[in-house]
Structures are given as structure tokens and as C-alpha cells.
């Protein structure tokens, strides 16, 4: 078996991640969201709840709650920033890579944090589509 050398970058955060961890954007509960979604599991050490306010298919506000590490908070902070002002169609096109890139990259071991933020967003948008299709009044 060949040697596996350790990479320090596996655990090191970028300035952007630390910035968003210290001063997260859009954090907190939302009063009357159009949709909300929860992903993750406290047993696994990370859980996110995302709230979206959508008017005429446009995301006018996004907030989140986090039980997780710095990468988790930063990734969801970034994701909510990215979706604000976008249409639902546009938000659906956001990728895990875009989230991570906007953070200046995530340590290898923390990529799942970008994945979790992405999944929470997807779930919220799905909820929205469901709501629209069921004919409920939205936005």
C-alpha cells in the first residue's frame, strides 16, 4: 500500500469562511416564510433549517438556522446570499461547486457542508414547487 501523506488543507479554512462564520449573513428565524426546509441530523453533527420568502417566483428573502461547524454556517450563509433576488428557476441552477467556490474553497473534509447547504436549498425549492402545483396560494 503506498503512503498517504497528510494535507494541511484538509482542515484549514479560507478567510471568507472565517469571515462568514464570525459574521454570518441571514441568520435567524423568519417570521412567515413561504417555505422552509430542514436537512441533516444532529446525530451526525450538522443540521440546517432554511427559510425562503418567495414573491412572484422571485426569492425576496432567505434566512437560516444552523447546528454545525464553521463551514456549515459559512456555506449556508453564502447560499442564502446567493439566492436572494434570484428567481426560483435561477436558484435551482446553483451548484455545490459554486457555493464552495464562492467561499474560496472548503477543506476536503468539509465539502459535505456545501452539500448540506445545497440539499437544504433544493428541498426548500421543491417544497415551493409542490405548493405551487397543489394550487395553494404562494407569495
Amino acid at each position: 500500500m503506498p503512503v498517504e501523506f497528510t494535507e494541511r488543507s484538509l482542515l484549514k479554512y479560507t478567510q471568507k469562511v472565517l469571515e462568514l462564520f464570525k459574521d454570518p449573513k441571514n441568520i435567524g428565524e423568519m417570521e412567515d416564510p413561504t417555505v422552509s426546509a430542514v436537512e441533516g441530523d444532529p446525530q451526525c453533527g450538522d443540521m440546517l433549517k432554511m427559510f425562503l420568502k418567495i414573491k412572484n417566483d422571485k426569492i425576496v428573502d432567505a434566512k437560516f438556522l444552523s447546528f454545525g461547524c464553521a463551514a456549515n454556517i459559512a456555506a449556508c450563509s453564502m447560499t442564502t446570499e446567493m439566492v436572494k433576488g434570484k428567481t426560483v428557476d435561477e436558484a435551482e441552477k446553483i451548484t455545490i461547486k459554486q457555493i464552495a467556490d464562492n467561499l474560496g474553497g472548503l477543506p476536503g473534509l468539509k465539502m459535505h457542508c456545501a452539500v448540506l447547504a445545497y440539499r437544504t436549498l433544493k428541498r426548500a425549492l421543491q417544497e415551493y414547487r409542490k405548493k405551487v402545483n397543489s394550487g395553494a396560494r404562494v407569495g
Binding site: 453533527g45 444552523s66 464553521a70
Partner: protein, 390 residues
């Protein structure tokens, strides 16, 4: 204000230690093996450290072998004894809460055909002596138990284990990892029936890069490596003289005022525990309270928050601590110690370890008690997990 409360991970080098080391990096640079005065000066210094450390354990000078760190000492003790005693048996007993430097060599030995049993611990981290008695058989050659658990501070019943092993019909070696207990809890290798004991310098205000293994005379053990034998037949090669001198000085300082240092740490520990209990709701103290807890260890699970976030927020306030959260490790699993004492993973993720040294002050604890409740409260506010639900 700053407060370094991660002394279980590493400590600052004491000023006196640095002063003692420096000449051995500059004018006293000789190789201890050589007969000229420069060499003999270095050899004397190494022997002095060896004697100082041996005295702190109630051991003989020659029974101390210097290693690079406690990890190396643990690995050397476990695999060295296992390989040298293979003919007598292939059974080893350790615990579920040992440091990876004990568990990993055991896993390697299992792959080589050794049988390893891992003792259960109770909710406070104490090993099950009855289970140990039941597991011992004629093939058992080695038992390895840390005197103090490095995460939750549990002081294990080392005297009782030593006695039990001594009462067996055949020789069972007793290895004790003392990295977390040295200079914090009294040690006597004779009274405790210990055959091998691992020590670390950088956890007692000595330098990094040096540890030691106490090996009782007549122990069957394979050398750590092979090469030019100088002062230590079990670990050949040029000695790290400045570091060994520093280790000796650190031990001398720690044991010159052992009781007052311990009392100082114990007071700070109890102040921290009382303060957290008073100020922060929804918490669990991991490990025992009172005399059976290391004077230097406090470990709390703060429900509803994640440890890495707590650690980084405390760091922003100048406070250094450790966490048992998955997110701080390379494995993304919560601490195996917290899992073994039955802490639920969702609670283990919010664990913070505070470890003290003689250099910590009551003012630092006051500061920590001011910051911690604030940080926990702010993180709970942004958490979707309610602490009362855990």
C-alpha cells in the same frame, strides 16, 4: 484577555526549561557517546534527566528510555512487549477509551494474529474490573490502561489492576499511558505494579519532541529500532540532548511543588465547574466529579450547539480549548471516549474540554466564565436544535 485552557493537548515551555536547554544547543553540543569532555558533559546531562524522571516514578534510572513523544512510547511498549512475548501468549487487554496511540498499535497486532479485548467503561469512564478479571486467561501477556483518560479526566483504578495482574499464576505485563496523568496525579510504579509507563514532556511545560517509556528491569521487550546503540539499548541513535535536558528540568519543576500545583489546578477546576453549572443550562459534565477526576480536566457537553463552532468562537475571544466534536477531527465521528461512556452523538458533538496547568489563574477562569455563557447562548439562538429536546 487570553486564557489557554488546552494544556491537555500541549503546554507552554517553562522559562527555566528553556534556559536549561539552550546551552545544549550551543556550546554544550557534544555527542553523549564520546569520551572527550564535550561528549561526557552531554552524557551527564542526559543521565541527570533520566534520574530526575525515574525518581518521580519511584523507578531506577536505567529503566527510563527517552522517545520522541508519548505516542511513540505507547506504540513501542505495546508492540515491543507483544512481539517479544508471542511464545507465551497472544492475548492483550486494553480499554475502549484509550488514546489512538494505544488503540492503533492494538489494531495492527490484531491483523498480525493477536487477540485484543477492549474493556467497557461505565458512564463516568471507569473500567470494569470484574470484566477484566473474567477476560484474563493463560494467553494474556499484556494489559494497557491509561491512568487518566485524556478527554474526560477519569482516574482509573491502577492500583487495583496492578494487584489483580500480580495475583495471576503467569506474568502479565502492565502498561500505563501516563501522558495525561504525569505531574497531575501521584504515580508510584512499585506500589502500582506497573511494568511500562509512557510519559510526555510537552504536557508538563517541557519541549515537544521528547517523551519517555519506563521499562521495568527484566521486561521482555523488543527494541524500538535497530542501529548504533548509545545510551539507550531499546532506542538506538543519537539522543535529542537539549530536549531530554528540558524534559528533566520540566519534571524537576513539576515535582518540586507537586502538591501545591495539584491543589492550584484542583481549585481552578472546581471554580470552573461550579461557574459553568451556575451560569449555563442544559449541560452534562463528562467524567466523574471530585477526587477521581484529574485536577486538570473539565469536560462539558453543551446541548444544542456544535463543538467546533464553540471552539472557534472562544478562540475569537482569546480562549483555547479542545472539542470532542466530529467536525474537529479527520474522521467526522464524535469522540470514541464520549461514545463509550454512553453520550448520545448529538450531545457529544457539543463537547468542550478545558485542561488546566499551574500557570492558569483565577482571573482567567473568571474571564472564561464570562465568555462561555455568552457564546453558548448566541449559538443556541441560531440553532435549529433545541437543547431541551436532547
Amino acid at each position: 484577555m487570553r486564557a489557554y485552557l488546552d494544556n491537555g493537548t500541549t503546554t507552554q515551555v517553562a522559562k527555566e526549561v528553556l534556559d536549561a536547554m539552550l546551552p545544549y544547543l550551543t556550546e554544550k553540543f557534544g555527542h553523549p557517546l564520546f569520551l572527550y569532555s564535550l561528549g561526557q558533559e552531554a552524557a551527564d546531562a542526559v543521565e541527570k534527566s533520566q534520574k530526575t524522571i525515574a525518581d518521580t516514578l519511584n523507578a531506577e534510572q536505567k529503566e527510563i528510555t527517552f522517545t520522541s513523544n508519548a505516542t511513540e512510547a505507547n506504540d513501542f511498549a505495546i508492540r515491543g512487549v507483544a512481539h517479544a512475548n508471542r511464545k507465551s501468549g497472544n492475548h492483550i487487554i486494553t480499554t475502549k477509551i484509550e488514546n489512538p496511540s494505544v488503540l492503533r498499535p492494538c489494531e495492527i497486532l490484531e491483523k498480525e494474529g493477536f487477540k485484543v479485548d477492549y474493556l467497557d467503561v461505565d458512564s463516568q469512564g471507569f473500567v470494569d474490573l470484574k470484566q477484566l478479571q473474567e477476560l484474563i486467561n493463560e494467553k494474556t501477556i499484556l494489559v494497557s490502561v491509561a491512568q487518566v483518560n485524556d478527554e474526560i479526566g477519569t482516574i482509573e483504578p491502577i492500583v487495583e489492576i496492578g494487584k489483580m495482574l500480580h495475583e495471576q499464576k503467569h506474568k502479565i505485563y502492565f502498561h500505563v499511558n501516563a501522558a495525561a496523568s504525569y505531574a497531575r496525579v501521584p504515580i508510584d510504579v512499585q506500589k502500582m505494579g506497573i511494568d511500562l509507563m509512557s510519559l510526555s514532556a510537552h504536557k508538563i511545560h517541557g519541549p515537544k519532541g521528547v517523551g519517555a517509556l519506563y521499562v521495568r528491569e527484566d521486561t521482555q521487550i523488543k527494541p524500538m529500532s535497530y542501529g548504533y546503540i548509545s545510551m539507550f539499548p531499546l532506542k538506538p541513535g543519537t539522543e535529542n540532548v537539549p530536549a531530554i535536558v528540558g524534559f528533566g528540568k520540566a519534571a524537576e519543576l513539576a515535582f518540586a511543588n507537586f502538591n501545591s500545583h495539584v491543589e492550584h489546578m484542583r481549585k481552578l477546576r472546581d471554580k470552573l465547574i461550579a461557574g459553568i453549572e451556575e451560569r449555563v443550562p442544559h449541560i452534562v459534565l463528562n467524567g466523574p466529579k471530585g477526587e477521581k477526576r484529574s485536577p486538570a480536566n473539565v469536560n462539558y457537553s453543551f446541548k444544542g450547539v456544535e463543538g467546533e463552532s464553540v471552539l472557534l468562537h472562544l478562540d475569537l475571544n482569546g480562549i483555547s480549548v479542545a472539542t470532542g466534536s466530529a467536525c474537529s477531527t479527520r474522521k467526522l465521528e464524535p469522540s470514541h471516549v464520549l461514545t463509550a461512556i454512553g453520550v448520545k452523538p448529538e450531545v457529544a458533538h457539543g463537547s468542550i474540554r478545558f485542561t488546566l496547568s499551574r500557570y492558569n489563574t483565577a482571573e482567567e477562569i473568571d474571564y472564561v466564565l464570562e465568555v462561555v455563557p455568552r457564546v453558548i447562548e448566541s449559538l443556541r439562538k441560531i440553532s435549529p436544535v433545541k437543547p431541551e429536546d436532547l
